[in-house]
Subunit: 310 residues, 3 copies
């Protein structure tokens, strides 16, 4: 049944086919119905969380997902707390985790860390976010949220907003959309944070209608799904440039006056002030729902990879 996931590494969302993701979403539906029970399907399995870079949501939702399936969980939540601090090389740390556990979730600031780990480990490795491009399980949750809200992913107009250059969640979401048939994708970012050439090339080669924008307000009325990410101060050499960018990509109730009633806003969280607080209680806010779906989607993924029958 879940044969194509069994024992598999999860490095990039682009490694997956549309029908595989649809299978994952069906199992996620099932996981949601079972979410209040303690299951035993991964009993005897150990999941390692190797978070070389801190993360609350990804780490905790993987931990909850694994435990609900009956697995044991060990790991660390920052580089400081491990022997890496003594100068141990990454490969040796991965080998250790591989010998103690049945699956490793890796989070790392460096591009390619998860891929490298998967080449060393005998057991499956899941990329919990590395570098600037890949956060495949976040993209799975994002797509599943859209499917939940709209009944499907195809035929919708998307706007991906904020830091498209360094933000791994935004980039993974765009990659994920290329596996489906979006009606149009707007890429709205400050000029110094536009999407990387490999992203726009891929969109072109897959024949997806997209447009890069430096203003969001002109298109907001067309959009069904707005995917918002943070614009970090550190990216801007000039503070006044940052202030300008911040204003232009901030989601406010005023901006949303022009939006469709059915517009839904996603955000990988944590958010700081890129979404006005009043938006949280509007009909458009879907990011808390999105966050809550992290557990069932990760339950489904863990079960499929480790071979448990949900």
């Amino acid at each position: 049944m879940s044969s194509s996931f069994m024992g598999r590494d999860v490095i990039s969302i682009l490694d997956f086919k549309r029908d595989e993701l649809e299978k994952l979403f069906e199992l996620s539906d099932k996981a949601r119905r079972l979410v209040n029970r303690k299951l035993r399907i991964l009993e005897g399995k150990v999941v390692s969380l190797a978070f070389f870079e801190p993360s609350t949501r990804t780490r905790m939702s993987f931990e909850v997902a694994a435990k609900k399936l009956g697995a044991d969980v060990v790991g660390f939540s920052s580089e400081e707390s491990v022997s890496v601090a003594k100068g141990e090389n990454f490969a040796d740390t991965v080998r250790m985790l591989d010998s103690y556990s049945d699956l490793i979730v890796v989070r790392h600031r460096l591009e390619g860390a998860a891929k490298f780990a998967s080449e060393i480990a005998l057991n499956p490795v899941i990329n919990g976010g590395d570098g600037r491009q890949h956060h495949p399980t976040q993209a799975m949750i994002d797509l599943y949220t859209v499917r939940e809200l709209f009944g499907g992913i195809d035929g919708l107009t998307y706007a991906v907003v904020g830091d498209l250059r360094y933000g791994r969640a935004a980039t993974s979401f765009i990659y994920a959309l290329t596996l489906f048939k979006p009606s149009k994708i707007y890429l709205a970012s400050p000029p110094i944070l536009v999407a990387r050439p490999e992203v726009t090339s891929l969109l072109k080669s897959r024949g997806i209608d997209f447009e890069e924008l430096s203003r969001l307000d002109e298109v907001v009325g067309e959009v069904d799904v707005m995917y918002v990410t943070r614009v970090q101060r550190e990216r801007f050499p000039d503070p006044s440039e940052y202030e300008k960018a911040r204003g232009a990509y901030r989601i406010t109730l005023k901006l949303l006056e022009k939006a469709k009633r059915s517009l839904k806003i996603l955000h990988p969280l944590p958010k700081v002030d890129e979404i006005e607080l009043q938006v949280d209680s509007s009909r458009h806010a879907a990011y808390f729902l999105q966050a809550s779906l992290g557990v069932p989607v990760r339950m489904a993924l863990l079960a499929m990879i480790l071979g448990g029958e949900l």
Copy 2:
């Protein structure tokens, strides 16, 4: 049976009635008898420990209590390790935990943090200590310890010693005593660390006989229960004032020569040097017993709130 606790938030000890606490203590007795067994009554439940301020005893005893009942536990033990460090607002962090778990224990340096969390979360919130006044589960353990030592809480003479102004455990203990019928309460503190007006007002309005003291030695012979807390150096603008205060409220074997044979000393721990080390092995020391009762009382509380039958 435990209907008044079911699904309830635990913010302040003053939210409870005497008979509710007595019910809790009866269940704590039962939990002590079961403490060496793995129970399954909270199986399928997840407890989040959201410790924005570090704590060893409170965090670990909640963790042990939840696990002994069969619940899974996730969380963090300091602000640095979570997305709060990235600037995420407290409400968003609480919403995340609320969607991942069935109950949140919050510890925070700010007054009102637990109350605020309980207004956001759909699931119950337990205050694991916030601000300067509230640490309700510590007060439950303290009262339960007195009941264990003396067979009851009424009719005894209490001295609460140390920092009554900023110490949340001391203040919560005084609040807790107002739900019972103490014979007398002495409040012994340096002048700059006297109990807050809201505390003394409450004692008056509930008709409790109390007296504020700046010297402990004169009344030590009358006291049944001495509740000692730390006097922190940082509270004193002048180091020599600190040294004087420290000496006057330090519990020594010499001071205890004047005490009743049956006097028992409580302390929420950790202690530094406010109790002479030799006192640890005296007949008066009850603080290690008190610490050990943290697990069964918290087991009983978790079971009652989450609806498990102990």
Copy 3:
């Protein structure tokens, strides 16, 4: 059956007799066959990990071992995260853990910390490494690895290499060998890091053939088991001395050209650059196997001490 281990503290490898270790190894064999199952033999037990000094491998393998046996695990992984930071004395921290759990694993930078903890705690204490001499469970794993590789521990020629003065794993390994009948032990270290007098005295008093060397290359052809440890820069007042020492005790493919085909290299890990990376994939590298045996040996030890039937 496991009566001599039941309820016992594990402070130094020298507290054990050869036949006790052999019993442990037999049970470790059994644990390896059960390692993919969730056992329930320690269900209802709580194991505390009190790591006052960070460690990844020791902490995580104890955690995995305890959980695989069905125990719950609580604890901390550095001094900063506990009340020790508030000035609590070590004895009070140990008393707390003792009242919350059934067994404490202590790791501490100070010599004697585990022994002191065992005098305070009512429950058994396992030394997870303290000071400069004792890391008994590492020694158990090391011996078990030799037994796995060579079918036994007696009659082999050993070289222990690196920091023999401050390295607790190396010293514990030498101590452990005195319980068996090695053919010969070479102790190869820079002059300022030679083995302590108590170590060489013990070797003499037990009639073990040993030789202290400052060059490794001359004897490499005779050795069956080479136990390598890190030479830390901080031990050397003069950087040029460090560079010299580092070169002389570094294990390279070139050095190994002179070795027996059957030579096996052990290392307690983490390693930095004391073993050339290419050695990792040679026939001689046994340190990844050694690391992986940490879980079953610790499973066997926990089961024997806490009285569970594996």
